[in-house]
């Protein structure tokens, strides 16, 4: 945990933009990515949601020592990064806070599971190391799959897909409005900190004496903005259900995409592609 905190501090110092501006920029950038007209962006959102959930379910279902089988699942993120014209480096940068936490999950496994299974270059590989690597890989793949879904599908289309799956309207509306209101909260925080900084030029950060006041102001102003947004929605006929626009049915290419990926993922689950490829070349 100490290492993680030091890592977060390192990230903070490296950044030239303020943290809040950076967070607002990241959210808007994700909206921009999702709004592009790439081929994978045009796939029906329900299909992409189903494939993402299926992919994560298949990844998680691998046994804890089956790192070789799991490695084959990298095919999906690699292909989608290409089809979506997305930058892998960019995704790692955006996920720099979440990924270390995910990798941290299996960090204690080598201490509890010490049976040696093989040696690589003189280094003993225990079942604990295998399970740690498997857990980390599962976490990274799942996070990447979620990132790819959000980077290729707008939040409105995702919510539309969730409604098609008959997820209750109240839950879907919560998801949509939470996403929209995060930027409201961040923008208010940004205004407050900018105003403070411009009038406290010799200070680094915000003095602890005003933390309480500023936090209270942030809460009140965010609640006020959120209420105004709700008023605006009510004045334009909102009655609890969002209508997500053009209800385009799934087309032939969407079904082909869905069944191709599901078939491939099932194949990767039961056929160790990486092992076979390794045996062919070694």
């Amino acid at each position: 945990m100490l290492v993680y905190v030091i890592y977060l501090n390192f990230l903070e110092r490296k950044s030239n933009m303020s943290k809040i501006n950076s967070a607002i920029y990241e959210i808007h950038h994700m909206d921009s990515l999702a709004a592009r007209n790439q081929w994978v962006n045009r796939i029906h959102p329900l299909v992409k949601l189903i494939i993402t959930v299926f992919y994560i379910a298949v990844v998680v279902s691998f046994s804890k020592y089956n790192i070789a089988g799991l490695a084959g699942m990298i095919i999906y993120p690699v292909v989608i990064f290409q089809l979506g014209d997305l930058s892998f480096k960019d995704s790692i940068r955006k996920l720099r806070i979440v990924l270390p936490l995910v990798c941290f999950l299996g960090i204690f496994n080598p201490f509890f599971d010490r049976q040696i299974v093989t040696n690589i270059g003189g280094l003993p590989i225990t079942t604990g190391i295998l399970s740690m690597l498997t857990l980390m890989t599962k976490g990274v793949f799942s996070v990447l799959a979620s990132y790819l879904l959000i980077a290729t599908t707008s939040i409105e289309k995702l919510c539309y897909a969730m409604r098609l799956l008959h997820i209750p309207a109240i839950i879907v509306t919560q998801v949509l409005l939470t996403y929209r209101y995060i930027t409201v909260l961040l923008e208010e925080a940004n205004r407050i900190t900018q105003s403070y900084t411009l009038r406290a030029p010799n200070q680094k950060g915000v003095h602890f004496k005003v933390w309480g006041t500023l936090t209270g102001q942030l809460l009140l102003r965010s609640m006020d903005r959120a209420e105004k947004l709700y008023e605006s929605m009510s004045l334009r006929g909102y009655a609890g259900e969002f209508y997500y626009g053009n209800k385009v049915p799934c087309k032939g290419k969407d079904y082909v995409y869905l069944f191709l990926w599901m078939g491939l993922l099932i194949l990767l689950k039961y056929i160790p592609v990486i092992t076979i490829a390794g045996n062919l070349f070694l």
Partner: protein
Amino acid sequence: MSHIRIEVDHVSFSYEKGNDIIKDISFSTDSHDSIGLIGANGVGKSTLLKMLVGLNLDFRGSIRVADIPVQKHTLPKIREKIGYVFQDSDSQLFMSTAYEDIAFAPRNYGLPETEVIRRVEKALDAVGIPHLKDKQIYKMSGGEKKLVSIATILSMTPDIILMDEPSIALDPKNRRNLIHILNQFDHLKVIASHDLDMILDTCNRTILLANGEIVKDGDTKAILSDQKLLEQHGLELPLCM
């Protein structure tokens, strides 16, 4: 759009007990009125507008819109007839693109998507911003957001337009465009604004508020050329005078 009116009868309102923001005001409108609501900062212009659409319901007295009393259970009916433009565009716009925001109201009213598309395009053309259709809201300037805000209510084809400081953040060309749009809308309009020149160009009737009360209600030219009256209540003559 049909022709309807607003009736405000002995209405008072306060945010805190014992401190009335609006004090016993009464007025009624004709269906073709274009009313400018003017007054110094903090006199209750925005508060009054909000009461007309039921955003502040804890008032004393009676407000009727199209002969429907403004009460909690009648709000959906009343709000279908009224387009309200907030002072702060960031409070009005909450979808990702201009198209989605302008389509929000028509979709909520159950219109088919073909009709939604038609209304959105018509609204964008009316405010002169068809090129902003797919632009993301967060990338827009203050002026562009204000125009999109106006388009969001035009797509509702309202019977009444209420606007709170609509000309803020607009450059001269877009301000002139706004005046043109308002003059083309021949149904009831109530516009709260400090831009007295715009009020002069768009409103036939003006209500001057001070200390929560109606000080003067009458012909726009007569009120806005009365320098003594305006200065007495924290205002000045329009720039063109």
